[in-house]
């Protein structure tokens, strides 16, 4: 269905009509052209396994776009996506401007406001451009089609004689005949829909999309004016600090808030299990929280970051076999060398610089929550459920989000702020401390991969038997030509038995795909070394996928890779990955200090085929971010814990990549005009663990089987 009109009647069950704050929305839409565009799910989520944690299940109902064209000719995109730093507020208007034939400067964007934007299940999965982009383009194309029809009527000429130039409809030969979009929409409510589907502009004709656009958030972010959820201060708002348990599994036994209550300006608020101290000043609320005496029964968990791997293998469900082919036993008979390896990876934190933050205010029975979230619409439902309100009584507004990486798909802090605001009768600010951020993080899960594989005398991989525990199915498929293979996935995002993980897990930039690629691409290098082949040549020798061959060959050229079997002593590594529809090859060079075990990365290259690139500069930024963030989980980041308690709870012990870690980074985006835009936010991080492990092996002839490759693990591997 593709209804096109400007009134607010929408299909039953969709919920928008009930949730509109008409005051605000009508201000925007009483005049002018409003396009509401709904499409059936364009494409299945395919191999994307959607993690749990605040996301709706089933078919997404979120492929909607709103566009408004005002009497001044300005176009407003109303989108349910949010700006996390990934640059969607810059690239989405490029697509709208392109299809509408208006200057980019005439396009505004409103994001993540549940009262004025159409439903969206969340900003994750590198989907903003990949899935939402085509929808926005269709909405814009439909609007242009209607405006052309209106212009034809107004100018009394056939529509085929008209063209659009920068927001003005012009007669192709009699150029005096012209009318602007603004003149067409002025002072009227327009209810029309286009007959048939609009044609999208061919990518080859793009003049705005496909070119670098300056970031729209730049000025606000360099001047301190950009507002994040914690910067929103409704009149009378109080900071809340919530009483928290010391360990996962610990249960509150006794509570004494009397000392805190005596502090001037402090209020103690209790809503069932939620106990908080409130004060106008955050630091005074912190101090008052320190006066609360709470005792807890200890956690029953006895797990540690060392024992977790055996525990996962023991407790993970039997799992599924998403990929299999040929005959493993027959394949093994053909093998002249058999390899049996185990790879481990610890829990990794999201550690966005902005901790989970939200501010809630109640006015006339309606709750407004400003939240740093990747999922404003699911949060709205959670708030409504928690407060027993109908959906029209909750509005979630998403200001700038200070990084998400999957971690802000869970938005518990928004519910906490709303509950406390309701209980306290004043607006409440909840800005998690860094310790709360670690405690409630939905970590990238620890994982164990066991792989048995073999090559024959011709150095062809003849069998592959992988069991992935903990990391789910995203990117777990081997990408090579292997006639006999089986991939078993035990445990992922849904269906894990209680107690399998000692704390929350959830989507982390390319969920599970980092672990899956690390194991696969490490194993490929193990085989290449035994075969006495250069790791690139070994891959090409076993790879039919023409698209990946092209990316790999482009990487060879861009890096200046010269073939040599590993370990060559040069410290070079290669690894491949497919994620979010994008093909990625990373190459690296490292130095390893054999005395200290320290790994210094000196060069990183990423080559990707991501289809049409909407904003090349934005895609480069995302890629650089992937490579830099990938240094962390590969070299240092690991959550330590014991008996339900997090040993790492701040940046004094949990190490993020720093300037001195970051090498020269090169990014190459291959021309790929015949493929629709694919994901840019995640693919390049996927090969990071393996590319560095492979480079370390090439440098010192030692393979590290566990991420992160800390100096201690490098030294231990050298001794083994």
């Amino acid at each position: 269905m593709s209804p096109f009109n400007n009134d607010l009647e929408v299909p039953d069950g969709w919920g928008f009509v009930q949730t509109i704050d008409r005051r605000d929305f009508l201000k925007l839409t009483t005049t002018g052209l409003l396009v509401m565009f709904f499409v059936e799910p364009l494409m299945g989520r395919g191999s994307l396994e959607l993690p749990q944690g605040g996301r709706g299940g089933g078919t997404p109902a979120d492929l909607n776009a709103f566009l408004h064209i005002g009497a001044d000719g300005r176009v407003t995109c109303l989108v349910g996506k949010v700006e996390l730093g990934q640059g969607a507020m810059t690239s989405l208007p490029q697509l709208a401007a392109e299809e509408l034939d208006v200057p980019l400067s005439a396009v505004d964007i409103v994001m993540g406001d549940t009262d004025v934007c159409p439903f969206d299940s969340g900003t994750f999965g590198s989907l903003s451009i990949r899935q939402f982009g085509p929808v926005l383009r269709r909405a814009a194309a439909e609007a242009k089609g209607v405006l052309l029809e209106m212009a034809a009527e107004k100018l009394q000429v056939p529509v085929t004689d008209l063209a659009v130039e920068a927001g003005t409809v012009v007669h192709k030969t009699d150029r005096a005949k012209r009318v602007t979009y603004g003149q067409l929409t002025e002072g009227k409510r327009i209810e029309r829909r286009l007959e048939g589907r609009p044609a999208l502009e061919p990518v080859s004709a793009f003049t705005i999309a496909g070119k670098t656009a300056p970031r729209r958030d730049a000025l606000e972010k360099v001047t301190g004016k950009a507002k994040y959820a914690g910067d929103i201060v409704p009149t009378g708002a109080l900071h809340a600090r919530i009483v928290r348990p010391p360990a996962h599994g610990a249960v509150l036994a006794t509570l004494d808030t009397s000392a805190a209550e005596k502090v001037p300006g402090v209020r103690v608020v209790r809503d069932r299990d939620l106990v908080a101290v409130l004060h106008a000043h955050r630091d005074e609320a912190d101090k008052a929280l320190g006066l609360v005496k709470a005792t807890y029964t200890p956690s029953a968990s006895t797990l540690t970051d060392a024992t977790i791997f055996d525990h996962l293998v023991k407790t993970a469900p039997a799992g599924d076999t998403p990929f299999r082919g040929g005959d493993l036993a027959a394949g093994e008979k053909l093998a002249t060398s058999v390899f049996s390896e185990t790879y481990r990876k610890g829990y990794v934190a999201h550690a966005a610089m902005e901790t989970h933050s939200a501010v809630a205010a109640v006015e006339n029975g309606k709750v407004t929550v400003w939240a740093g979230t990747q999922t404003p619409f699911p949060l709205k439902s959670q708030v409504a459920a928690a407060l027993g309100l109908t959906a029209d009584k909750v509005r979630v507004i998403t200001p700038y989000v200070g990084g998400g990486f999957g971690g802000k798909s869970a938005s518990q802090q928004g519910v906490e702020a709303a509950r406390l605001a309701m209980a306290a009768g004043v607006p409440v600010r909840v800005v998690w401390s860094r310790e709360e951020e670690f405690y409630f993080d939905t970590f990238d899960p620890a994982a164990v991969h066991t792989i048995r594989s073999g090559i024959d005398a011709a150095k062809k991989i003849v069998f592959w038997d992988l069991v992935a525990v903990g990391s789910g199915s995203r990117g777990v498929e081997h990408i090579y030509d292997i006639p006999n293979h089986r991939t078993v996935v035990r445990g992922g995002w849904n269906g894990n038995p209680a107690g399998m993980h000692p704390f929350g897990i959830g989507p982390w930039r390319a969920p599970g795909a980092n672990a899956n690629a690390w194991a696969r691409e490490s194993q490929i290098d193990v085989m290449a070394a035994k075969a006495g082949m250069d790791p690139v040549e070994f891959r090409l020798h076993n790879l039919a996928d023409a698209r990946m061959r092209r990316v790999l060959e482009a990487a060879v050229k861009a890096f200046g890779w010269t073939p040599k079997p590993g370990p060559s002593g040069r410290g070079l590594g290669v690894a491949c990955g497919i994620d979010a529809g994008t093909y990625a090859v990373n190459m690296a060079q490292v130095h390893v200090n054999k005395a200290t075990g320290h790994i210094q990365v000196v060069r990183l290259l990423s080559v990707q085929d991501m289809g049409v690139v909407v904003n090349p500069e934005g895609a480069a930024q995302q890629t650089e971010g992937c490579l830099t963030m990938g240094l962390g989980y590969s070299l240092a980041e690991e959550v330590h814990f014991k008996n339900g308690e997090l040993i790492d709870s701040n940046f004094d012990t949990y190490q993020l990549p720093r300037f001195s870690w970051v090498p020269k980074i090169e990014t190459v985006l291959l021309e790929s005009p015949n493929l629709a835009a694919q994901g840019a936010g995640e693919p390049a991080i996927v090969p990071m663990g393996a590319v560095l492990a492979n480079a370390v092996f090439d440098a010192i002839g030692v393979r590290v089987h566990q991420l992160p490759m800390t100096p201690a693990r490098v030294l231990a591997a050298m001794k083994a």
Partner: protein, 158 residues
């Protein structure tokens, strides 16, 4: 309670409060300057960096009483007379941020070094930023921005 007097972004400022309170929260909650960010609360991420006299300081670990009689500059005070500082220009030019949450602190850390000596070499400025965390991985662009700004300031830009 004590009245603390200092110069904030060029303006004489007085705050009457517990002098042991933290500068970060006095700036954000009492004075409404929210450009200075809370990231860790233990001076290990750099998001809350401000400049006191000419030193980069972590506002989350500084008592407001310590700024008595001093000059405090926050991100809101870096642009002067409606003109962006060369660092701000360079951060925009190189898109040296993504989510922007660490940006204020990054700029203030670099600002302090260049305030002390506008001819500070970029490598020295970056040493100051080693203890500033950026989760988005904008590092290579921040390096470019600092390099551009340092060159401009060496050439006389302010």
């Amino acid at each position: 309670m004590k009245t603390v007097s200092f110069t904030l972004n060029g303006k004489p400022t007085r705050v009457t409060t517990d002098e042991n309170r933290l500068l970060l929260w006095v700036l954000r909650d009492d004075l409404g300057l929210t450009g200075t960010k809370f990231g860790c609360g233990q001076a290990s991420c750099g998001s809350c960096t401000v400049v006191i006299n000419s030193d980069a300081v972590r506002a989350c670990a500084t008592a407001v009483g310590d700024v008595e009689g001093k000059t405090v500059t926050t991100i809101e005070g870096v642009a002067t007379d409606g003109r962006l500082h060369p660092l701000q220009d360079a951060f925009i030019k190189h898109a040296a941020f993504q989510c922007g949450f660490c940006t204020s602190g990054m700029i203030m850390g670099a600002y302090a070094k260049l305030l002390k000596d506008p001819k500070t070499p970029p490598a020295e400025v970056l040493k100051e930023l080693e203890d500033h965390l950026c989760r988005c991985g904008a590092h290579v662009r921040i390096v470019d921005a600092v390099t551009t700004a340092a060159a401009a300031m060496k050439g006389g830009a302010r």
